[in-house]
C-alpha cells in the first residue's frame, strides 16, 4: 500500500450511511477482471471529490461513492455482485 490510496475500510463510514449491513465485509466481484474479495481489500482513492474503490488485481473502478449535501451517489457498475453474509 502506498500513500496514494487508502484501503477499503475507508468506505465503511460513507457506505454505512446507505446500507444497513457493513458492506466492507461483503465479498465483491470485479466486473473487469472477475477477481473476488472483500470490499475492504479495494484500493480507495479520495475521499475528495469522491471515494473511488479500485480492484487490487486490475486497478479498474469497482465502486464510487460521492457524498453531497442531502444526497449520496453510489455507482456499482464495476461490480458484478456483492455477497453479503446474513443470518438464516
Amino acid at each position: 500500500m502506498t500513500a496514494e490510496h487508502l484501503d477499503g475500510n475507508a468506505l465503511a463510514g460513507p457506505l454505512g450511511e446507505i446500507f444497513a449491513v457493513d458492506v466492507t465485509s461483503a465479498t465483491g466481484r470485479c466486473a473487469h477482471c472477475g477477481l473476488t474479495g472483500p470490499v475492504a481489500s479495494l484500493l480507495v482513492y479520495g475521499p475528495d471529490p469522491g471515494l473511488v474503490g479500485r480492484c487490487p488485481g486490475c486497478e479498474e473502478v469497482v465502486l464510487r461513492v460521492v457524498r453531497g449535501p442531502g444526497a449520496a451517489w453510489l455507482d456499482l457498475r464495476g461490480t458484478v455482485s456483492l455477497r453479503v453474509n446474513l443470518p438464516d
Binding site: Y45, P49, G50, V66, G68, A71
Partner: protein, 199 residues
C-alpha cells in the same frame, strides 16, 4: 473585443472579488486523484482529436511542443472549495489544436491516460479559454499534477481540467464523464456554484 475571462490577463482585482462563492484561498497546490498516477513515456505520448465524422488528428510530444506556446496566468477553483490565484502555466491553446479540425460538434469529451474522462461544451474550449499545459510555475508539470500534460480550463471547476490528457472526442451529443456520472454537476461553473447535479 471578446470577453476577457476572470483571472486571465484583465486588470487584477482584489482577491475577494476573485473568490467564487463558497471558496477559500490556498497557497499550496492540493493533489486529488481518482486513481493511480499514470506514467507516460514521452516517446509514446500522443494527443489526439477525434471528430464526430471519424477523423483523428494526432500530435506526438515533439509535434506538440513545436506548436505556438502561451503562458497563461489564471485562477483555479476546485469543487472541494479551494481556490488558488495567479497560477502560471505554459502550453498550447485549444484554439491552435482545433484550428484545422473540421467539426460541427457541440460537445467535447476529454479522455486521459488512466481512464479519466470529463465532458464540456466545445465552445468552452475555444476563444482563449483552454490550454493543454505541460509546464507549471516555470517547471515541467509533475506527474501528480497531471504531467506530461493536462487540460487547463480555468473558468470551470478544476475537475474539468483533466490530468494526463490523451485526447478530445468531439460529439454531436453530450456524454457525461467520470465525475459527471457520479453526482457532480454537468457544467461546473464556480461563479454559479454548480457543484452537484441539480445545482
Amino acid at each position: 473585443m471578446g470577453i476577457i475571462s476572470r483571472g486571465f490577463q484583465g486588470r487584477r482585482r482584489d482577491a475577494g472579488d476573485r473568490l467564487p462563492p463558497g471558496q477559500y484561498l490556498v497557497d499550496d497546490f492540493p493533489v486529488l486523484s481518482a486513481g493511480p498516477t499514470p506514467r507516460v513515456p514521452l516517446d509514446r505520448w500522443e494527443f489526439a482529436v477525434d471528430t464526430e465524422a471519424g477523423q483523428t488528428h494526432r500530435w506526438s510530444w515533439a509535434e506538440f511542443l513545436a506548436l505556438p506556446q502561451e503562458t497563461p496566468t489564471v485562477d483555479i477553483h476546485c469543487v472541494t472549495k479551494w481556490t488558488k490565484l495567479d497560477t502560471t502555466w505554459q502550453g498550447v491553446s485549444l484554439d491552435v489544436l482545433l484550428e484545422d479540425v473540421e467539426t460541427a460538434a457541440d460537445y467535447a469529451l476529454i479522455y486521459s491516460y488512466g481512464g479519466y474522462t470529463t465532458n464540456l461544451p466545445l465552445e468552452d474550449l475555444l476563444d482563449g479559454q483552454a490550454w493543454i499545459a505541460h509546464r507549471f510555475d516555470g517547471e515541467e508539470l509533475e506527474p501528480r499534477h497531471g504531467g506530461p500534460a493536462r487540460l487547463i480550463v480555468p473558468h470551470l471547476y478544476f475537475w474539468k481540467s483533466a490530468k494526463w490528457v490523451r485526447g478530445i472526442r468531439l460529439l454531436n451529443e453530450d456524454y457525461p464523464g467520470f465525475w459527471e456520472t457520479a453526482g457532480y454537476n454537468n457544467y461546473g461553473d464556480p461563479w454559479r456554484e454548480q457543484r452537484y447535479e441539480g445545482d
